[in-house]
Amino acid sequence: MKHIISLLMENEAGALSRVAGLFSARAYNIESLTVAPTEDPTLSRMTIVTSGSDEVIEQIIKQLNKLVDVVKVLDLNDGRYIERELMLVKVKATGPFREEMKRMCDIFRGRIIDVADGSYTIELTGTGSKLDAFLEALDKTAILETVRTGASGIGRGDRILKI
């Protein structure tokens, strides 16, 4: 099952590679990983999307907690949470595609952020599955390039990951 794990870690050189190294060394799946400093510049917040059986996820959480640089770990799937990912897609916008792409973008509540003679660049935000659905809905031959940030997640309501 897919899990979104959030963690706070010391914002130090090499901290990211400790997490990445842990996943490869222990053969855990890693779907996406995003990291950036928080409002406290000494802390980085990381969101990892992974999958595995309950036992594997339990081990992942324990192993992450064991890393000396990791301050706190939260499995967002243990409660209610919000997930968002940003995607930029460059699509063909010639002939019939020019109208079609605009329409698809509107349906998915995306925004066209760059217009060129032959292409649009569309910005789309949502859950990973919404972004997947958008790509599914497009004519494959129209997609020139895609770039995704990987998911970020945050607990709903009072669920707060902070030290």
């Binding site: 590679s17 190294g21 036992e55 081990q59 640089d69």
Partner: protein
């Protein structure tokens, strides 16, 4: 006090001097190392100090192994010092060995000057990157202001919680810069706070299950040794009267000559230990991790149901390979101490009632039946020296009180099976990584820690050659280690597997062109002995450990039976109760 030889004024020190003063603050007695370009400033500072002894090894791998053994034997944090590049990479095997067995070490490595990092400088290697998967933590010191605090943290992290090696990589330019020395008294880390006290509710729940057990079993590992919990374990085991087994890493945690001890378990464990593991109804695992060499095939292990209580300081060791019913995260010494207190207090009446006395009596009858099969018997009438016989005699001659280090292979298993360890920290071997070559440097580390103790390195003619250059270190530091080489002219354990599982095809496992070990020992300035007959074994050992050779290193080359195998054996992928016994072949 200002050191008059210090050319600097006030409290200003060079980075190199800061390193030395940190080691002094940590009461380090030995630093095992090897100089080189990137650590020349540190070595210059060592030249001017007398707080610790520097032990010059002949290869950096041995420096880390010796520091590791020093830590295993004493419980203190071991310290090694190596240069950048090849010095650092040579240290990696030692670091990984310590990591797998959770040994507290601080390894200081030189690094090229900070401005040269990433420039492919001479003797540059990304030490922090290379060691990341095999350290508890590592640091690259980028600013002299952080140097002392980083070394303080390194010692703290290495020695607390589940111990492990910590690498501190120090660029050369930092060792030459000046800064005031101040050593932090304490360490506060928001990201690192090991849990030491077990959850009281869980401990009581565990005790209730233990008192209700009909076929209980205590299974303890290296955690008892590392956590200095032997005394608490003995008290608990005697109070409850349960059978107890130790893992390879846990030997000596419970006295091997005690009746309740059923021997080591696992791939080469005793019949009684493995059968009891398989058949028990309540299993109490303490400071052990259910690894593949211990429980064999986990599916087979779970073909019988049992309740498992698991006490460990590292939460990630719990429910990793087997699902556990009652997890208790905490320092084993603290948790066992609390259990003993409860058995003297709140649980006293319940324990004194012995609710399952009859069932436990029947369980012991069963265990004695297994024990009566004498799974460790071997041919005592052979004309060729049996390796088991050498170990039994070694135990007798040293009165069971020596420190035994070993290399890796058949001799290691025989030492574990036949040398009955009654005390913790006496059995020093590479359990997790299984590093051939550790034996001799391990013996050096132990002998330096305990100069008057009997230290024997049990090895094979293959393993000993992996760090044999250290005979020179033994000469320099007058280390009277006794090397017990069980020479069967084969990589014995490889040969055993090839005999059992590869149709006797002894691919590359024959040690051809062996040196004359007697002459080799003599060339290094030691005493060499070759022992070829069973009747010579005991006299030779008595001579080697006798007063005449007390101050000398003795290299004993025992020519042993080439085809002897280690039994019992749980073949790879089989279950604990599917052992091959000697008589079955």
């Amino acid at each position: 006090m200002e050191d008059p030889s210090n050319p600097t004024t006030g409290n200003q020190c060079t980075g190199a001097e800061i390193v030395i003063r940190c080691l002094q603050e940590e009461n380090v007695k030995f630093v095992f190392g090897y100089p080189g370009g990137a650590v020349l400033n540190i070595y210059d500072a060592i030249f001017n100090q007398s707080h610790f002894k520097h032990v010059l090894v002949r290869h950096e791998q041995a420096a880390v192994h010796a520091a590791d053994a020093y830590a295993r034997a004493t419980g203190e944090v071991g310290v090694a010092l190596v240069t950048s590049g090849p010095g650092a990479t040579n240290a990696v095997t030692g670091i990984a060995t310590a990591y797998m067995d959770s040994i507290p070490l601080v390894v200081l490595s030189g690094q090229v000057p900070a401005p040269s990092i990433g420039m492919d400088a001479f003797q540059e290697v990304d030490m922090v990157g290379i060691t990341r998967p095999c350290v508890k933590h590592n640091f690259l010191v980028k600013d002299i202001k952080d140097l002392a605090a980083t070394i303080k943290k390194a010692f703290y992290i290495a020695g607390t919680g589940r111990p492990g090696p910590v690498v501190v990589d120090i660029p050369k330019d930092i060792t030459a810069q000046f800064h005031a020395f101040s050593y932090p008294e304490t360490v506060e880390m928001r990201s690192y706070n090991p849990i030491l006290k077990g959850h009281s509710g869980q401990i009581k729940k565990a005790l209730r299950l233990m008192l209700d057990a009909k076929r209980p079993m205590l299974y303890t590992g290296g955690g008892i040794i590392l956590g200095d919990a032997s005394e608490q374990l003995v008290k608990l085991a005697r109070r409850l009267g349960f059978p107890i087994t130790n893992t390879l890493m846990g030997l000596g945690g419970y006295p091997a000559t005690d009746r309740q001890f059923v021997g080591m378990l696992g791939m080469h464990g005793t019949l009684e230990a493995n059968m009891a593991m398989q058949d028990c109804d309540v299993l109490i695992a303490i400071g052990a991790r259910f690894d593949d060499r211990v429980i064999g095939n986990p599916d087979h292990f779970f073909s019988k149901s049992r309740t498992i209580i698991h006490i460990d300081v590292d939460p990630s060791s719990i429910s990793k390979r087997v699902k556990v019913d009652v997890p208790i995260v905490g320092h084993v010494q603290s948790v066992l101490g609390e259990m003993n207190d409860l058995l003297d207090g709140e649980f006293k009446a319940a324990a004194d009632k012995k609710p399952e006395e009859a069932a436990i009596q029947a369980w012991w009858t069963q265990i004695e039946a297994w024990r009566s099969k004498k799974c460790l018997s071997y041919d005592r009438n052979s004309d060729i020296i049996k390796p088991q016989y050498v170990l039994e005699k070694l135990w007798e001659v040293t009165k069971g009180d020596a420190f035994i280090t070993s290399d890796v292979g058949q001799h290691q298993m025989w030492a574990a099976q036949y040398y009955k360890f009654d005390k913790p920290r006496r059995w020093i071997n590479s359990g997790g990584l299984g590093t051939m070559g550790v034996g001799l440097p391990y013996a050096m580390g132990v002998q330096l820690a305990y100069p008057d103790a009997q230290v024997a390195c049990v090895t094979g003619e293959a393993s000993i050659q992996m760090c044999i250059q250290e005979l020179s270190t033994c000469k320099q530091f007058h280390l009277p280690v006794k090397v017990i080489t069980l020479n069967n002219r084969y990589m014995g354990m490889v040969r055993q597997w090839q005999e059992f599982f590869y149709g006797n095809r002894y691919s590359e496992s024959y040690m051809d062109a062996l040196p004359d070990f007697v002459k080799l020992a003599e060339a290094y300035g030691h005493v060499g002995m070759r022992i070829e007959k069973p009747s010579d074994v005991e006299p030779a050992l008595k001579e080697a450990f006798g007063p005449k050779l007390k101050e000398r290193m003795v290299f004993m080359d025992f020519l042993t039976d080439q085809k002897e195998n280690v039994f019992p054996m749980v073949p790879n992928g089989k279950g604990l109760s599917e052992m091959i016994l000697a008589e079955e072949l």
